[in-house]
Symmetry: none
Subunit: 123 residues, 4 copies
């Protein structure tokens, strides 16, 4: 019950598994859910948990590392890189902007957008 965030791979999704995984981990890191210096699950354990080959997870970690989101130290596992998490406020703003763009595509006006958010927040 160490409560690690649930990572999943959907085999029906044409997006390759290594990329599905990469996106989830990148999000968790950028969102600060995985804080700098936190350890990622060991390659083999994650592979076993998800029913993937080790090489597939290795590919994910490699991509994250070359993006600078993660650091693999030899013998020391893989940890979240220090300098890369962005301020949560910036991420929040970005997400809000994406939501608003989408809502407008749907034809919603400002008032409807505000109302929808209010409805979801409850009160």
């Amino acid at each position: 019950m160490t409560d690690r965030p649930t990572l999943t791979v959907d085999t029906d999704d044409p997006t390759p598994p290594y990329e599905q995984l990469r996106r989830q981990l990148a999000d968790l890191i950028e969102y600060g859910v995985l804080a700098p210096d936190d350890r990622l699950p060991p390659l083999r354990q994650l592979a076993a948990d998800l029913g993937l080959a080790v090489g597939t997870v290795a590919r994910t970690y490699r991509e994250l590392e070359s993006a600078g989101l993660v650091v693999s130290r030899r013998g020391g596992g893989t940890r979240v890189a220090a300098a890369r998490s962005r301020p949560p406020a910036a991420v929040l703003h970005e997400r809000a902007a994406a939501f608003v763009r989408d809502a407008r595509l749907l034809g919603a006006d400002d008032e409807q957008i505000r109302a929808a958010v209010a409805a979801v927040l409850g009160t």
Copy 2:
């Protein structure tokens, strides 16, 4: 500026092009941006516009058809299937809920979420 909604394919995204396209069109239909009986661009035109092979776009159209979102007739063309789009209000609510969930993952409270949306809306 009466142009059709912009469809794009990102060649750096490991998600296969036919799937990127499929998602965009499925969204446009579900969002009601493309209304029932609206015509989709001809295979070859869309392929040319996006720099894709004809077969790739054909695959997208085929998938959309087998999902019941679209109807293709030989010699006819491809049109949005009737009675498939959901009420925009429902879709808007769903999107708002997804945004709020994301924002809370980031650690934002209700007030911050409201503020972020307000900031984006201007005013």
Copy 3:
């Protein structure tokens, strides 16, 4: 209510419509359901009934004619050719052979095959 045998085209079947039609008519002729000198439905009427373009039905008739199953006389419509229907007994035998082959593929032995036919015939 002239009781013409029902011809149908399944648009979900990848077999082209002209070929679906051709097979049905060829069977009807070979089986003797359509007797020598019987008239086939007029091109345009059949096309209208099936929701096909005239050219598509024309293609079917053309194929039947070049197979010698049918004769188009100018101004006189299309009729079943005289010399082509095979003795029903021969066709029956052929069909029985096909059925037996299939049944054996399923692993059935002679007794099971006989029993299955008896069961269908009732009594």
Copy 4:
């Protein structure tokens, strides 16, 4: 002679090759000739044997998979899906019924039908 059931493609048949193949494999699976978990031939081997392009066989396998008859795993191979084949007795009865219907269309009575089957079975 332990060879796998013969698959063939008739290039004179207007039915597209991927569909001819699909039907044959679907039949073999439904008939139980290919049992659950049996492996299908590798894409490229089957393509080579039949003189088809790889993509054509891939299309067949994809259709079978989306019909739930087969499961393909990347790097794994393609196998018959479990719990899909119908009881052979049911299939046999269905085939017998189809044969009888056909025979009656030809004008045969019960006795003639029985006789035709007996003749084929050899005694």
